[in-house]
Amino acid sequence: MLTLSSCTSEQLHRALRDGSFRLYLGQLALKVSSDIPEFIAAFRQLYGDHPVALGGGEYDFDIAISAPALWRRWFRRNASFEFSGDTPFLPMEVGHAHALFEWGLNWAIASFLHHCLILHSAVLEWRGKGVLLSAVSGSGKSTLSAELSEQGWRLLSDELALLDSDLKLIPLARPVSLKNTSIDVIRRRHPTAVIGPLALDTHKGTVAHLKVSADAVGSNLVPAIPKLIVFPKWVEGAPLRVEPVGAGQAALRLIDQAFNYSTLGTEGFRRLVALVRMTEAWQIEYSSLDEARDALETLVAEHG
């Protein structure tokens, strides 16, 4: 199948302008439109290995990153996120357009994919075993996900765990969102990693995105079986601490991080109970990414 990086610049710009561009993100097909050069350049860099089509076709989400209404352009160049013609967020400056796309896509998935139980959690796979990394914002989840992904773990998502009715984790491998100091941490540890442009002074500080491996993208139609739930927390200078978490406590912590548990009602409860019964849950506190990775690989080997 055609990948984004194999399209010529002219083909890409034309398809993004005339509505015939499709991005395939695992089970999801996105119609993406844009006329903003800064976004198109970042999109091409970060989604280069993803399958695409230039001749239209069915799609699940209709997303446009475009210049907003004329009067706003008088102040500065902005970009809007449009979803099926609606604009759910305020425009942002064009330098944030690629970040806006990722945030908007997260919002769309969490708002509309209710055939899955959706948890705020990274999902990775190591040696065929699915691992959920569930944590509140600021716990270092994305940095740890980026590190594991660069060390050969398969990334399914750095942000959203999608648990379907067969209790499988649906992959959505796409760029990992790095914030502030974690950008340099990953750049230093993995000098060949592809990191997109910086979006400065966003509401989350400076944001940049790590391109995921072609292998992870190539496995985007292969679900993972959940085996471990890990609640990671990065604490500066802290020694490594690994402790088990009971299934009931794990369920409550996951509910706190769920997007659509209430929406799914009884089905959400049944799926969550099944998840905590088929997995083991642990919490780890760490300051060293190497120690955290070793600990996670040991947990997968011994308890996954």
Binding site: G248, A251, F269, V273
Partner: protein, 95 residues
């Protein structure tokens, strides 16, 4: 009517489990889902023993419930506090 209840007020010393609760035991207690409110509670220890008793025996007087949980080996020292806590969670009600 029990001695402490003013005349004209009903004696609410009987306790029942809320209807339609989903109950799933896990290693550290039981997860209980109330489809009416959407709330999920983790019960353990004495609270879990109370809920199990009410599930198996139906509506009970407080004294019978106390005896039932003691029969399950639970120390009923915090019986009243636990009862109130379950009532606040709307898992049980007085009738």
């Amino acid at each position: 009517m029990s001695s402490g209840i003013p005349a004209g007020r009903p004696d609410l010393s009987r306790v029942a489990l809320a209807e339609a609760l989903l109950f799933e035991e896990v290693e550290d207690g039981a997860l209980i889902f109330d489809p009416n409110s959407g709330a999920t509670t983790l019960a353990s220890g004495l609270g879990l023993a109370m809920i199990k008793s009410l599930r198996s025996l139906g509506t009970l007087d407080e004294s019978a419930l106390r005896a039932a949980v003691q029969g399950m080996g639970e120390v009923a020292e915090n019986f009243t506090d636990t009862l109130v806590s379950l009532e606040k969670s709307q898992l049980i009600f007085r009738c």
